[in-house]
Symmetry: C2
Subunit: 357 residues, 2 copies
């Protein structure tokens, strides 16, 4: 039975890192007889340049048909001047929303080989393994009404709406609890329920869903305290679950704790477990075209895709082991370079993983 994967390389370093990830995926495909067929599409700035919109109908139509999507990265200064509704990020937000990819998994893992790369003291981050589960299709990112209006006194006001319904919270809660069961069975829900009504309901529904998971421990933390605790003692967390906006902020902070955001993959899943996979990092315009980009987060996104959506855990493990092997060999792209290791280019890193698969 053949499986289809839509590849969306995106902008700036997107195509560079994607080329390496596709190499590795092809190799796994052949070695494990996965029967995966690749299709290519446009998203973000690349789509805007070619088709005049950041999410072309054709990309969306294909995205709905395939089993999984592999995304590089979108956006960058080239499109700073375009109208707001045409910006590359809009394409990303639209595909998340159209496909109802509500469950965003963002692991923050410290690779032992890269322990030195963190800005935190080794004892604070050694062995770090957090999974942030971010709600991705609701909250203030998509809430209506929104816009900029002129008030009666003549001045302008910008406004957005932060909202969550019970069913939106319930489905992300279930995802977080299910994932926690495969880990250390602890869920910490992040809200600001001492101030925001939207998160009062969030907390209530989390409590309600928790009764169905008596084996999983649920705790609650205010978002400001969560940001502090991530800096002070990140290892206290197992799964953190939160809304779209808080998840955006906390997952980036958590990823950076590891010092190796160039290593971290992510998954965005729908109710059926179909998903879009992409690196946690962005399109890095400053290093595009120089062979400096780290392809490992995209390669690890391939592994995540094989595990979560394509039900090929063996192939996933082979890729993850290959990444670990090249790190053991001392190969490093510039972002994770440290004394005593060998700097390699994007392509050389991809080739090394390929050889190890």
């Amino acid at each position: 039975m053949s499986k289809k994967v839509l590849v969306l390389p995106g902008d700036y370093i997107g195509p560079e890192i994607m080329a390496e990830a596709v190499k590795v995926l092809d190799a796994a495909n052949a070695r494990f007889g996965l029967g995966i067929e690749l299709e290519y599409g446009l998203l973000g700035g690349a789509a805007l340049d070619e088709c005049g919109v950041p999410l072309p109908d054709e990309t969306l139509a294909r995205a709905r048909e395939v089993d999984a999507i592999l995304l590089g990265a979108v956006g960058g200064p080239k499109w700073d001047g375009v109208e707001r509704h045409l910006r590359p990020e809009r394409g990303l937000l639209a595909i998340r929303s159209e496909l109802q990819l509500f469950g965003n998994l963002r692991p923050a893992i410290l690779y032992p080989q890269l322990a030195g790369a963190s800005s935190l003291k080794p004892e604070i981050v050694a062995g770090l393994d957090i999974l942030i589960v971010r709600e991705l299709t609701g909250g203030i990112y998509f809430g209506e009404p929104r816009g900029i209006r002129t008030l009666e006194n003549g001045e302008r006001e910008g406004y957005n709406t932060y909202k969550y319904s019970e069913s939106e919270v319930r489905r992300i809660a279930h995802l977080a609890f299910d994932l926690a069961r495969k880990r250390d069975s602890r869920v910490c829900s992040v809200d600001k329920s001492n101030v925001l009504e939207a998160t009062v309901l969030w907390r209530e529904v989390m409590e309600e869903v928790a009764t169905e998971y008596p084996d999983v421990e649920l705790s609650h933390i205010y978002v400001d305290n969560a940001a502090m605790q991530l800096v002070m003692n990140p290892k206290q967390f197992d799964v953190m679950v939160t809304g779209n906006m808080f998840g955006d902020i906390l997952s980036d902070a958590a990823a950076m704790l590891t010092g190796s955001i160039g290593m971290l993959p992510s998954a965005s899943l729908d109710q059926a477990g179909r998903g879009m996979y992409e690196p946690c990092h962005g399109s890095a315009p400053d290093i595009a075209g120089q062979g400096k980009a780290n392809p490992l987060a995209t390669i690890l996104s391939v592994a995540m895709m094989l595990r979560y959506t394509l039900a090929s855990p063996e192939a996933a493990a082979a890729i993850e082991d290959a990444v670990s092997a090249v790190l053991d060999q001392g190969l490093r792209t510039p972002d994770i370079h440290s004394e005593g290791t060998t700097v390699v280019s994007t392509t050389e890193m991809g080739d090394a993983v390929l050889a190890a698969v």
Copy 2:
């Protein structure tokens, strides 16, 4: 000319740390002939227990009359069960709003004597000195409509409104630029203008106000990237200015970078420079009544009050120097204790500062 200060000790460790701060304020008052008169009032849980509301009319009336307010900390588990509109935090939010204390200054400074207390590597945080300027009376904290409603399909939805008008952004912008002039003349404005319209206007107004400060450099950063950069390389920032919600999160993260949140004061100013001063930390229910609380943040809040609102920079400097001196003597409350230093109680720490003033 006499000046009036309203003292609001608040809850849990609030009265303990306030007792020490008042000792030090009394001493400075006598030594520098400041003519300060103290009044006492109730806020938060203490007010709720006594008067049935977290911000009694009498407290608010006095607060409007005095020159400055000194606050301990409010809130705690004792009042977990009370109705939302009566919770201690509501008193804090109400006093901020009623007095239009829109400008919240939260310094994140690393005391050289405490360099080891940070969870970050010494070279990342040595010499850290950031000032976060948080808008405190607008944004999603106060935006209407808000609440929990039942949708047509029968399920509930929690909702809040994030909004900023031009004039609200303009006044916080001016405050940030004015403060930057007294420092390194760099303002970094934090928004999420790639997603939120409320912050599109925010960015526009920041640009507009910047034209009046050609000597100050303005840059912009998305909030997710700001959280990352604070972890990776916090020393790149001078003044950061942002809205109420993002400021809540980022200022706590920044404070924690120093490892000594028990050391950090804050100011909340109105248009005329009158203000409320309080430690950055909370009411710490877990250590209340044990003599373990660190009074230095509250003592340094007194210094900040003398400098910003009461125009007594000499007295402010004397208190700050005294704090530095006791740190040099190796005296530490448990939160900032490290090898080779002497653990002292809340009272002993207060007495040591008093002796040094």
